[in-house]
């Protein structure tokens, strides 16, 4: 590889030299490591035009004699360094210093992304890249991550997929998009990350709160998505992916094009379009579950070793239909819907997306800059702006028919800066600062009371991380972070609700105006959050390694937990926040054991997460309104313990077969009330057998069995209610979890070389081969309809 780079670079830099007549000049020099200033032994200094070599000695010095006067081009290379070219004008005997960058691996990963610290060996992390990500080109981020042990998703239908890491989701997870923390109203359970999976070449999932660089409140973990690395040569390359699927009769198109130069300039543009119609369960059409999605991104910048910058803009718009039958009027409709064997409204297949639906536009713009300082380290500064505009359309009447019921516009600005002291390989430090401002505007023209109020939010954070290589076998990471969050909201409360919540006892000083039946209230809350992490990894021998880590993190309540106040139609429930909530504190310990031999790889991950003041939403009773009765779901706090084991195995059998297993088990307990926690993912085991034939077009065929166990540990929140039209009392069963299910899936692909630089990959996938009826516990529409039936997907991928 190095050799290849060496020659290609040489070729590029080839130039004619002036041959002067006097050819007895001497060039002396020293080759030095850029980071720590130490001399580099064994570096090669090469003058191609003269075919002259020199190698540096133990002091990093070299000497080349009998050179002609004039300009010469030098190529300086070393086995683990980036090759460097230099042009020298030689008039007399000369001594020159050359700096080489000593970590070629880290160079490749520099700069486009602030993802530096995720290479840490002491955190529980898993990486998906290349083909594993591209396979999900027509799906969502949440779908792609489910292949990782311990990662599941909480869904609203098929198009709204929120990742769940070790049982935690929403505000407990940070999603990083090209170095920017996504601010897209992630608090809501039916708010999926606004990210086009095609913008990511590589996705890293970090379990737990041990990556303090990204934030101190990621009690669940961090998902880091990164675009592809820029090739440091003159090239124009790209890819196009076209997918077509039978279920939903959908298609998706993605294309990306990059231009880069050897000087480090690059520009890259991406576009993705998706259109899906109504999805289908094995027996009926899931009416109004289509999707229209458009995404574009553009980035440009300069990537050099010593400095560089990146300017990035993305736009994504998703219009997502919500199952028509999930829109309900009151508790009686809920009972009817739960008891109906199939959805009460099913129409013929259609691409139309009607109410209820979501229409969300997310825009992200950022600019970053980095600079390296000799023998010291690397400075990064970044500014990003995000705008998330979310419309939710309910079924309405009259003139309001096409008017959104919810219209929230969230703008976020953030400045982040970090400095990494990496001069010493065995002892690195990183310090950083973050400042952010956010404004939420809830448009009053919807004619429906705001679910989330207008607010301003300010965040300031500082972190420091140390990475120590104690010896060849042991690495230690330690980090601290402090965050200050302040929220200043202006919210209307109906006076009856204000009193029912007993806010009149504690919060009357927050009232700023009287609007007849409502108070206008100005809650101002401040939170100080400390987080810490420590991890150690130890390589027992060539095959066995272990790691242990501990994370302390605090998360301030989000606007939904504090301020929710209103009727949620798709769930037929009244949701209530609580102004009294304090931040929750997580103490998480985890351990990994890894075995890796030539043919076998085993990873066992265990964790215990104790969360004090764990915030969650649960039914607390019913309220009568003129529409009838509604269950009330209120945010509460308790102390919770989450415990889980994730297991992965990859076993190569011969040269052509690979067996894989990923399994996960998690338990969630409310220790204060000695109850099970709600919405804990089911235990799951996925087994696959793959056949690979590299010789024949990189062919692969994988059959996969996915078994999901029934979640038998759930809190019983069932309640009885009076149904006036039938004059009966019925039990509303909103707790009992669906049965076990077993899905069989198949995937095959092969790559054909069309020309020197063009590859075509043809992929074919079938999911739910047996077309079984099933319902998934963490799909919020499970009360109303079965999950997806069989689906065939054909994918064509062209790389050029």
């Amino acid at each position: 590889m190095i050799k290849k780079i060496f020659f290609s670079v040489l070729f590029c830099f080839f130039s004619f030299t002036n041959f002067a007549q006097e050819c007895n000049t001497i060039l002396k020099g020293i080759v030095i490591d850029y980071h720590d200033g130490t001399p580099i032994y064994g570096a090669t200094v090469y003058i191609k035009s003269l075919n002259k070599y020199a190698t540096t000695n133990f002091e990093g010095k070299f000497k080349i004699e009998q050179l002609c006067k004039g300009e010469i081009n030098l190529t300086i290379s070393h086995i683990s360094c980036e090759t460097k070219n230099a042009k020298i004008s030689l008039e007399k005997e000369t001594f020159k210093e050359f700096f080489l960058e000593h970590h070629i691996e880290s160079l490749k990963e520099v700069s486009i992304v602030a993802a530096a610290n995720i290479k840490s060996k002491t955190i529980q992390s898993t990486v998906l890249k290349g083909k594993a990500v591209e396979a999900f080109s027509n799906q969502n981020l949440g779908d792609a991550l489910k292949d990782i042990a311990g990662i599941s998703s909480i869904n609203t239908g098929n198009a709204i997929v929120k990742p769940v890491i070790n049982g935690l989701h929403s505000s407990r997870i940070i999603v990083m998009a090209n170095g920017v923390r996504l601010q897209d109203q992630e608090w809501g359970i039916e708010h999926a990350p606004n990210l086009d999976i095609n913008t990511a070449e590589k996705i890293t999932v970090i379990k737990g709160a041990n990556s303090l660089e990204f934030g101190g409140d990621a009690i669940g973990g961090v998902i880091v998505t990164e675009p592809s690395n820029i090739r440091l040569k003159d090239s124009l390359y790209g890819k196009s992916i076209v997918s077509s699927q039978s279920n939903g009769r959908g298609y998706s198109f993605h294309s990306s094009l990059s231009k880069s130069t050897k000087k480090g300039w690059y520009v890259n543009a991406k576009t993705t379009l998706k259109k899906m119609g109504d999805f289908e369960s094995p027996e009926y059409v899931l009416t109004n579950t289509g999707l229209n999605s458009k995404a574009y991104s553009l980035q440009t910048g300069l990537k050099k070793f010593e400095s560089g910058f990146n300017v990035y803009y993305t736009f994504i718009n998703n219009e997502i239909g919500i199952l028509r039958a999930s829109h309900l009027g009151n508790i009686e409709d809920l009972v009817n819907a739960i008891n109906a064997p199939q959805p009460l409204i099913t129409n013929d297949f259609s691409y139309d997306i009607n109410s209820p639906k979501q229409d969300i536009t997310h825009q992200l713009a950022k600019v970053d800059y980095y600079k390296r300082f000799k023998k010291l380290g690397k400075l990064k500064v970044q500014y990003d702006f995000q705008n998330n505009h979310r419309f939710e359309f309910d079924i309405r009447v009259g003139n309001d028919r096409n008017k959104a019921s919810l219209d929230l516009n969230l703008s976020s600005h953030a400045i982040t800066s970090s400095f990494e002291f990496d001069a010493k390989t065995a002892e690195k430090y990183k310090v950083g600062f973050m400042g952010a401002y956010q404004n939420n505007f809830a448009n009053p023209n919807t004619g429906i009371k705001r679910l989330i109020p207008d607010y301003d939010k300010y965040d300031v954070g500082f972190f420091t991380i140390g990475n120590f290589i104690l010896n060849d076998e042991t690495t230690l990471d330690v980090g601290f972070r402090y965050d200050f969050n302040a929220i200043n909201a202006k919210k209307f409360y109906s006076k009856s609700r204000w009193e029912e919540r007993n806010y009149d006892l504690d919060f009357n000083d927050l009232i700023i105006a009287d609007f007849n039946t409502q108070w206008l209230v100005n809650p101002k809350f401040q939170f100080h959050n400390f987080s810490a992490s420590a991890g150690i990894s130890y390589q027992l021998n060539d095959e066995n390694s272990v790691l242990f880590n501990y994370g302390l993190s605090n998360r301030a309540p989000n606007p939904s937990e504090l301020f929710s106040d209103g009727l949620h139609h798709s769930a037929a429930r009244i949701e209530l926040g609580d102004l009294r909530l304090q931040q929750e504190t997580s103490n998480r310990i985890s351990a990994n054991y890894r075995f890796k031999s030539e043919n076998t790889s085993i990873l066992v991950e265990v964790f215990l997460n104790h969360i004090r003041n764990f915030m969650y939403i649960e039914p607390t009773g019913t309220e009568q309104t003129i529409r009838g009765a509604f269950p009330v779901w209120a945010y509460k706090k308790t102390n919770a313990n989450l415990f889980g084991v994730d297991f992965s195995l990859i076993q190569q059998i011969g040269s052509q077969f690979i067996l894989k297993n990923t399994s996960s088990f998690i338990r969630g307990k409310d220790v204060k009330n000695n109850r099970n926690l709600i919405d804990i993912p089911s235990a799951k085991t996925v087994n696959s057998v793959g056949y690979y034939l590299e010789k024949w077009h990189d062919f692969s065929a994988v059959i996969e069995s996915e078994f999901v166990f029934r979640q038998s540990l759930f809190p019983n929140n069932n309640f009885e209610t009076y149904i006036p039209t039938s004059n009966t009392n019925v039990l509303v069963d909103i707790s009992t979890t669906p049965n076990n299910y077993h899905l069989l899936n198949f995937n095959s692909d092969a790559t054909f070389k069309l020309s020197e630089k063009t590859n075509l990959t043809v992929g074919f996938t079938v999911t739910n081969i047996l077309n079984i009826n099933y319902r998934e516990n963490l799909n919020r529409l499970r009360f109303f309809a079965d999950d997806l039936g069989r689906n065939y997907t054909l994918q064509l991928k062209l790389k050029y």
Binding site: G329, D333, D400, I415, A442, P453, K490, F515, I626, S726
Partner: protein, 194 residues
């Protein structure tokens, strides 16, 4: 080292300045939010029953002025019904948080094909028949007749469904069982027939 430190601090300072100026501008623009004018709020359901032989109208009323708020609706029945009597009835739905109150019955009638009232009595206190029709010849229920027979006590539940399946079995006769749709209004009135 010193020059680096100075440079670093300068960059940080400049950034902090830009940042705080930017936030100061955006923060200043936040005035008090506008109060939401709730457009489809239904606070009041009134059923007026006019005895066929003359006499005082009987008013059944459910009023819930805080909408989806915690206060339960206030249900009132102005008088007991008489046995063996026919009443002609009219329904009205209103938003009384507005002044004057907004008559939502008009909206229901404008989109009559998508709305239907259902009357569900218990204990055989009365039978209810529809006196109006939408464009498709299906009932709406704003106008209805109510007939009592023997003395009894029970409940009369009045339900307004949006987008019911009017063609489903029994729905046009007033049976809500197969109606589907979403409930917009539901009120249970305790009735005594004497």
């Amino acid at each position: 080292m010193i020059t680096f430190k100075n440079r670093f601090m300068k960059i940080v300072k400049n950034l902090a300045l830009v940042f705080f100026v930017a936030t100061a501008f955006t923060a200043c623009s936040s005035d008090d939010p506008e109060v939401v004018n709730e457009e489809e709020l239904i606070t009041t359901l009134t059923a007026t029953l006019k005895p066929s032989g003359g006499g005082t109208d009987i008013i059944l009323k459910s009023v819930d002025l805080d909408g989806d708020g915690p206060d339960a609706p206030v249900i009132s029945v102005s008088a007991n019904l008489s046995a063996n009597t026919n009443y002609s009835g009219v329904l009205k739905v209103e938003n009384e948080t507005e002044s004057p109150a907004e008559d939502i019955t008009l909206e229901v009638l404008e989109e009559d094909e998508e709305h239907q009232f259902f009357f569900t009595p218990t204990n055989n206190i009365a039978t209810v028949t529809y006196d109006d029709m939408d464009g498709d010849g299906n009932p709406i229920g704003v106008q209805f007749s109510l007939a009592t027979t023997t003395a009894a006590t029970g409940n009369l539940t009045i339900t307004l469904r949006h987008e019911p399946i009017k063609t489903a079995s029994g729905v046009s006769n007033g049976d809500i069982t197969n109606a589907g749709g979403e409930t917009d209004v539901q009120a249970v009135f305790p009735i005594t027939v004497q």
